[in-house]
């Protein structure tokens, strides 16, 4: 398995060709997404914990509930995101002559999340480092909360997390191209379009937000 995962990262086309010959299963892709979801929820726990400290003491009674909802949402969001990304790529690829089943594409897209497991771990380390080195004072003025959030997001650690997210998303997109080609029986060109059109738009949006936090706009 470890050999296959290295192959997934370095030679995804061969990985999916070999996977196409084996029996298909969603267990491992789902495990990858679940692992990412759990790590993401821990990051969300840190993030929400820090954000809630900004709130006045009168709002602190709801803190546990908010954090719990945030963590559950993070886990659910990862799986929903997996399905949505697959659906969008499936739809575009269908317009470009894609033939394969949705389940096969879902499996390949799930495998494609694998690089993001490293990205999530790295983000978690950056998040922990940022949270543990930051003290937060409660503020009551909504303007100050907004200002604090802007400062929060423009902190080098948080910007690094954004960049990591973009980079590992690119890596995933690269794997998704080969996964889509394999699952949907597309030509490489159409597979690239199917993946890069939605993911590219998403990445452009993320880069736009990132530049916004850097104060360019």
């Amino acid at each position: 398995m470890s050999h296959s995962l290295v192959q997934l990262l370095l030679d995804p086309e061969r990985f999916f060709q070999e996977r196409a010959e084996e029996s298909r299963g969603l267990l491992f892709p789902a495990a990858i997404v679940l692992a990412i979801a759990i790590i993401g929820s821990i990051s969300a726990y840190f993030m929400l914990g820090l954000t809630l400290l900004l709130m006045p003491s009168s709002s602190q009674g709801m803190a546990d509930l908010i954090v719990a909802i945030g963590m559950v949402s993070s886990i659910a969001g990862a799986f929903i995101g997996w399905v949505v990304v697959t659906a969008v790529i499936y739809g575009i690829s269908a317009l470009l002559g894609g033939k394969g089943a949705f389940r096969g594409l879902l499996e390949n897209i799930g495998w494609g999340y694998f690089p993001q497991l490293f990205g999530s771990l790295l983000s978690l380390i950056f998040m922990y480092d940022f949270v543990s080195s930051t003290s937060v004072s409660p503020v009551e003025d909504p303007m100050l909360v907004a200002e604090a959030m802007t400062r929060f997001m423009s902190h080098p650690s948080m910007l690094s997390i954004q960049v990591i997210s973009v980079v590992f998303m690119l890596w995933s997109a690269n794997i998704w191209i080969f996964g889509t080609k394999s699952a949907r029986g597309l030509k490489m060109k159409n597979a690239v379009i199917s993946v890069l059109l939605p993911i590219g738009l998403y990445l452009l949006y993320m880069i736009y937000v990132l530049i916004g936090y850097l104060g360019v706009f």
Partner: protein, 372 residues
């Protein structure tokens, strides 16, 4: 010489021997006493007459009566006085009340004897209604709210007689005054007495100094109205807080600044502190400057915590020359930085790591395409 003295002595003896002896009773009014000495309009007092029998025999006295004239005689006549022996005296006291007119009046005393004769005597009684005078002889140039100032009154007695039980009572609302009553006691004619009151105003008000005195048994009063208008003490210490700089040190704020005295009087026991919502913390919960001379300044430092960005009251307390505690409050805006980053180990090298990562991922992606 001796012969001259002898002649003189003999002549006196001869003259004494030639004087006819007084036979029978001889009544005389030997003295009168009027209380009070000088009446005021409407005053009640007494007239006492001493009657002595200077004769060599007693006499039956029938009735003693006082006729007041302008005075009302409040007491009844003595209906049957009785026997007054030779050389004996008897006193008669009558209560009289003055009318509503000043002047000198002459109540008449009549002593009737049983033989139908009577002796009469008039007593001059003076009525003069001049009051005690009240003069404000000293007051502060200005009086400020919360500060004590001294007011000096002079009570004068222009009356021809002494008055007793003189006391001065300050009355009114909107100020505190000590003493609350000043007892002078007796005040002789044409004399004055000075009294000091310490007044601390709370607002614009009127202070009435009421002077109560007694003329005999009659209580009288006079009063003086004094406006109490607090104003600014033109010489007072003026405390200003400037150059305020607050620095957040973790959860604690360190506030530095200068406190200056722009007034003309010294500010004593100057103490600087913060008030809620700030919570003073060590090491500078308060800052004691001590005395601050006019045109002088002192730097200070305070440390406190505050849960949020807000205005923090900076209270400067000091005492004036009279020991009155005065407080002035300034405000400083404190922006509690919501985020205070010290910078973790990873974040210091974060960008380097990220760029390395970008390079690695690009290499991997290129590699995966070259493997085709």
């Amino acid at each position: 010489m001796k012969l001259s003295y002898a002649i003189l002595i003999i002549s006196i003896l001869v003259l004494l021997a030639a004087q006819p002896s007084i036979a029978g009773p001889q009544l005389m009014v030997t003295g009168t006493n009027v209380q009070p000495e000088v009446f005021m309009k409407g005053d009640t007092g007494t007239v006492t007459l001493m009657v002595k029998n200077n004769g060599d025999s007693g006499v039956q006295v029938n009735r003693a009566t006082m006729y007041g004239g302008a005075f009302s005689v409040m007491s009844d006549p003595y209906p049957t006085v009785g026997w007054l022996g030779a050389g004996n005296s008897i006193s008669f006291t009558f209560t009289i009340r003055a009318g509503n007119e000043d002047g000198i009046f002459y109540p008449r005393f009549v002593l009737e004897l049983t033989d139908g004769t009577a002796i009469r005597h008039v007593i001059p009684v003076r009525v003069e209604s001049s009051d005690l005078t009240i003069s404000l002889v000293k007051k502060p140039d200005y009086i400020t709210i919360g500060r004590t100032a001294s007011y000096t009154l002079e009570i004068g007695n222009p009356r021809p007689n002494a008055v007793s039980g003189v006391q001065v009572i300050p009355e009114g609302q909107g100020f505190e005054v000590t003493p609350t009553r000043y007892f002078i006691g007796s005040l002789e004619s044409d004399h004055t007495a000075s009294v000091d009151f310490q007044v601390m105003p709370e607002r614009i008000s009127q202070m009435r100094f009421r002077v109560i005195f007694k003329n005999g048994v009659n209580e009288h009063q006079n009063s003086l109205l004094v406006p109490v208008v607090p104003s600014e003490n033109k010489k007072a210490a003026e405390i200003h807080v400037t150059n305020l700089v607050s620095v957040q040190e973790g959860e604690r704020f360190r506030l530095t600044g200068d406190v200056s005295n722009a007034g003309l009087e010294r500010a004593n026991s100057v103490v600087i502190r913060t008030e809620a919502p700030a919570v003073p913390v060590d090491p500078f919960r308060i800052y004691v400057v001590g005395s601050l001379e006019p045109d002088d300044f002192s730097s200070f430092e305070l440390t406190f915590r505050t849960p949020r960005s807000t205005q923090i009251p900076i209270v400067v307390e000091y005492k004036d020359a009279e020991g009155n505690r005065i407080a002035t409050t300034s405000y400083v805006d404190v922006t509690a930085a919501p985020l205070s980053e010290e910078g973790g180990i990873i974040s210091k090298f974060g960008l380097v790591l990220v760029w390395l990562l970008v390079i690695v991922v690009v290499i991997v992606i290129v590699y995966s395409w070259r493997r085709r």
